[in-house]
Amino acid sequence: MKRSVLAVVTALAFVASFATTAVRAQSAAPAGYDFNGMPDMSDFDPATWTSPTGDTIKVAIVASFSGPAALVGQVYWASAAWAAHDINKRGGIVVDGKKKLIELIKADHASKPDQAKRVVERMVLQEKVNFLWGTDGSNLQKIINETANKYKVIAVNTASLSDDLQDATNFSRYAFQTSMSADQLGRGLAWYYGQMRKKERKFYILDQDYSFGRLLAEGFKKGLKEYYPDAQIVGEDYHKLFLTDYAPYLEKVKASGAEVVFTGDWIPDAANLLKQARQMGVKLPFAHVFMDEPNFLTEVGVEGTNGLVQISQYGTVGDAFKTPEQIRYYKAWNDLWQTKWKTAPFNTPLFQHPAGNIGSYIEQTEWLFSVIARAKSVDPEKIIKVWENDSYRFTNGKMLKMRACDHKAIQELHILEFVPPGEQKQSFNIRPYYWNANYSAAGPIHAVPSKAILPLMDTNLDRCKGANPAGE
């Protein structure tokens, strides 16, 4: 008799434990991409996609669409449009009781501060957009955030990496920084070298001479102190933007005995630096953020790119494709790239994979849409309520959390070790088992835990006084 009671009680306890786990899982499960409803994206072409109009959810994509930096606008547009098309194909998002489609509007600032202010004001006052998406260049993002704050429109910073955008002087509760930030990147690389790799010790910092380059270097130095006290900074230089000749700097690097060169350079500086380094016979590995543009990597070749280490805002440990859904998600884009997209630049290797920065922009946009869907409204106050402390998971499993006090994204970052095409199947685990046949790219991928690289929190900001940087 007692044994059967015991059995029943045990059984009940067993079942109960499942129930509580289920309840806990439901409240803890982060939002993420809904693979189940994934629509047929085969009619999408970034060159020709047009926004729906009418009673829509309006998002302004603020970027350079004209001038020398027009590529940036094209990248942003393709990424955001992909996410928008996906939602629109599902019928849109229910907002204030009505199902509405996503409308994207191009807001061209041509990298000029005056024009940025004008165009953002036009978006807010004339086009009456609900969201401002973008941009690159913290001086321009500041303008966006200010206008957003003045007119109470939500601004989503997807691409400007400066930490001071959300500091005490510049913070606005209408602005959300979903992108990675400079300080995180620097500390992340330091963590990898000190806590995981534990090999090279001597680092040379060679960054661009402006706020991002300096913040990045500060982060790296701080990270080394914290995670790799044995490391040594054998040199530190800041070169002017769009530098023509890197030889004098590379000479110093050679003389310093450095084992790794740390840089945050982006194109064209990243390309010119690596090219000239290899031409000069400097074979050192680079710890970098933006050396992932296919054309110059092809030019440098497999050998010259082997051993580079990238810290990225898009990645997953080990196999890049772990579930059939992830493969389907990848192929939706890649198949179109291979067969359908004929207009430059969308048909070039830059757009081959929905990974890297493009992948991140797509998924940051999907996060925004997810927040809107859960807020069931585009009212800024409701968006803020949902987004603060929100957790989100990218399709590749990467976790992000929006820190409530300063609207910065707590996120893990990923370290990509570049290896020759034959070894790239360590991450690219489906046919053809490499990211690119012409140069070394991601092989082993590691994660830097988000707790190790919490974004910089300005304690002068009242909201953050006494707050836990981990957002708990």
Partner: protein, 291 residues
């Protein structure tokens, strides 16, 4: 050689190479601005156009030397057309007219380049024969940079010879000095000017193809090198090839030694040097031309 000496030598060599890069870029502008007095703000755009044309030739044929031959000619053709049909008419409005026109043409070149080759960054492949390294004074030095130095010196030599040792050069110098008189002597002045302009743009084109393998060919290339070219020509003095050469060298050395010893200040050094020279000699170091 102990490390410090070899480092001095190395930076000296780098300074020389960068100086020659600057000279290559600026020499064409020196010819046009210095000799003809024409303010050509599209100079860097022709540099960029030639780099793109060179990329295209290499992409089609794989032959760098063909690119070095054809691309500058293509760029020069565009430049000559600009001179013949557009620039000639605005001379009457002086520098302002030239500024507006050449800024306009530069804009159009940017639009053209983006339309034809797209917005991406492209790479002009270095010829295999020049992509190795040699040992110079104990240094492991890229052959290609020696090529650039050699090319710049060659251009300097050829230009000097042409201008000072040939009849054509004599005519050009005379025409620049007093066009009316030379015209009265029966020389076809518009043709001479067109030729000079063409040569200037051609030189920019040579620089474009020669320097592209160490840089990235992208729509911002003109902006990247434009100001450098101007600063060299302005500091060196209008009309003075020697002035441009000397100033290029000085800038190159300031740049490399600046980076070595005071890297924070390196970019300021060049601009400061320019400001000082101009404050003392407003027409440039070796400039003689009357404004």
């Amino acid at each position: 050689m102990n490390p410090t000496t070899s480092m001095y030598v190395a930076q000296g060599l780098h300074g020389l190479a960068y100086g020659m890069i600057l000279f290559l870029i600026a020499s064409g502008l020196n010819v046009i601005f210095g000799m003809m007095g024409v303010l050509n703000l599209a100079h860097a755009s022709f540099f960029m156009l030639s780099a793109y044309l060179g990329y295209q030739v290499v992409a089609l044929t794989g032959n760098f030397w063909l690119a070095l031959l054809l691309a500058p000619l293509g760029s020069a053709l565009v430049g000559v057309a600009m001179e013949r049909f557009l620039l000639r008419r605005v001379h009457a409005f002086g520098h302002m007219g030239e500024l507006i026109l050449t800024v306009g043409v530069g804009s159009i070149v940017l639009a053209a380049v983006k339309s034809i080759w797209g917005t991406e960054s492209l790479q002009l492949k270095m010829p295999a024969i020049l992509s190795g390294r040699v040992t110079i004074a104990g240094l492991d030095y890229p052959v290609y940079r020696l090529f650039i130095i050699g090319l710049a010196l060659l251009i300097l030599a050829v230009m000097t010879l042409l201008l000072y040792r040939t009849r054509l050069g004599k005519i050009v110098r005379a025409a620049v000095s007093d066009a009316g008189m030379v015209n009265a002597l029966g020389i076809n002045i518009p043709l001479v000017f067109m030729l000079v302009f063409g040569v200037g743009v051609w030189m920019a084109g040579i620089a474009g193809v020669a320097i592209a393998p160490i840089l990235t060919v992208f729509p911002g290339l003109a902006d990247q090198v434009g100001m450098d070219a101007f600063i060299v020509v302005v500091t060196g003095g209008f009309g003075s090839l020697a002035g441009a050469f000397i100033v290029s060298l000085i800038f190159g050395l300031l740049s490399s030694y600046g980076v070595q010893f005071m890297s924070e200040l390196a970019p300021v050094l060049i601009v400061a040097f320019m400001a000082i020279v101009l404050a003392i000699r407003p027409h440039g170091l070796l400039g003689a031309r009357d404004s």
